[in-house]
């Protein structure tokens, strides 16, 4: 029988080996020109991986992200500039690869939608506030006053036959739960 400790050690070693095998380092992408290296790093931060959509090309371990990083790297090495590479990817994967979508008719809603919502909300808020100021709450009408009085008349002398507690069935003070006197 193999001791449990040994099994554990093998398991941990295996997991460690797997994790190092899949990780990538930016050092793998060597540039002679440091400015180009910076441009490369900045660009892959701004590009989105299409498989794991909340990760940038820089952060993603997906195979497609690896391929696209390599493609971007090769194009930088071949002397293409940032805009050319972005155009290349957008022509094939659409604006979706960009974390920063361009301003154009199909993205107007995306860019201006939130402001539009705020504007609509502000419009209604201001309108309501102004209206409240213009006609402050009127007092109660005569009949309403009468009803209010009737509701507040002390117990026992209710004109409408109720117990003077707004018609609610509250237990009496002695704690018994009798129905209110009719």
């Amino acid at each position: 029988l193999i001791p449990i400790k040994l099994l554990k050690a093998i398991l941990v070693a295996g997991l460690l080996a797997m994790s190092t095998a899949s990780a990538y380092t930016l050092e793998a992408f060597a540039f002679e020109d440091p400015a180009q290296a910076t441009a490369f790093r900045e660009l892959i931060e701004k590009l989105r991986c299409l498989v794991c959509q909340n990760e940038s090309l820089s952060g993603s371990q997906a195979e497609l992200a690896q391929d696209l990083r390599e493609e971007v790297y090769q194009r930088f090495r071949a002397g293409e500039d940032r805009d050319e590479i972005v155009d290349f990817l957008v022509a094939r994967y659409g604006d979706f690869v960009l974390y920063d979508p361009p301003l154009k008719p199909s993205t107007y809603l995306l860019w201006f939608g939130p402001f539009l919502l705020v504007a609509v909300g502000a419009f209604f808020l201001i309108r309501t506030l102004l209206r409240k100021r213009q006609d402050p709450e009127e007092g109660l009408s005569e009949s309403e006053q009468e009803r209010l009085q009737a509701l507040f008349v002390p117990s026992g002398s209710g004109r409408d036959g109720r117990n003077g507690q707004g018609g609610r069935n509250r237990p009496d003070r002695d704690g018994s739960d009798r129905p209110p006197p009719q």
């Binding site: 391929d67 957008v90 994967y93 659409g94 979706f96």
Partner: protein
């Protein structure tokens, strides 16, 4: 009438919100629309999977009505759509199915076709995703409909089954066929 209309405003706003959210829920964010639809198929040149001496290129699309199907032996959904592709290759005579074997290895890809049958006229072998990137491929399976002029007319993301064929692909392919026969004389 105005007052009753006003009391309905919250309901109307709520229903609007429901429609908006339902749209958001129904739309699959994993399906990214391809900007290549309506554009000529990208140029490419790759060795054929089963015959490295033969080259598969965009010239194979010229004058033909094609499905370009991205597949791999490691891809479970590709296995799921395989039977439907076999049926199409038997029944749709004027429709050629070109395979783009994507990020796969030669041995398992060949074994898959030998075991389950080969629906493809030919499969281009692209283990390093050199051509896949040019087609904007980001997963398998993906299927492009390419018309007689070599223009990409549609991209389907995910497996093709009978429903997808009947509802999305067949109507489009019929349209392309009638356009072609009208243009001929």
């Amino acid at each position: 009438v105005r007052a009753s209309l006003r009391s309905f405003t919250p309901l109307i706003l709520f229903l609007g919100l429901v429609v908006l959210l339902a749209f958001g829920l129904k739309t699959d964010p994993r399906k990214v629309p391809s900007p290549l639809v309506g554009k000529p198929a990208p140029e490419f040149s790759l060795p054929a999977l089963q015959d490295p001496g033969r080259t598969v290129s965009d010239a194979d699309l010229a004058g033909k009505l094609s499905l370009v199907n991205v597949w791999a032996s490691w891809c479970v959904s590709c296995r799921a759509e395989h039977a439907e592709l076999m049926r199409l290759s038997r029944e749709e005579e004027d429709l050629q199915i070109l395979g783009l074997n994507w990020k796969d290895d030669l041995v398992s890809a060949t074994r898959m076709l030998r075991t389950y049958g080969d629906p493809y006229l030919v499969s281009a072998f692209d283990p390093d995703n050199r051509v896949g990137i040019h087609w904007g491929v980001y997963g398998a399976p993906e299927t492009f409909v390419v018309d007689f002029e070599g223009t990409i007319r549609y991209k389907h993301i995910g497996p093709i089954d009978r429903t997808v064929w009947e509802q999305d692909l067949r109507p489009l392919i019929q349209t392309i066929r009638t356009q072609a026969t009208r243009a001929e004389p």
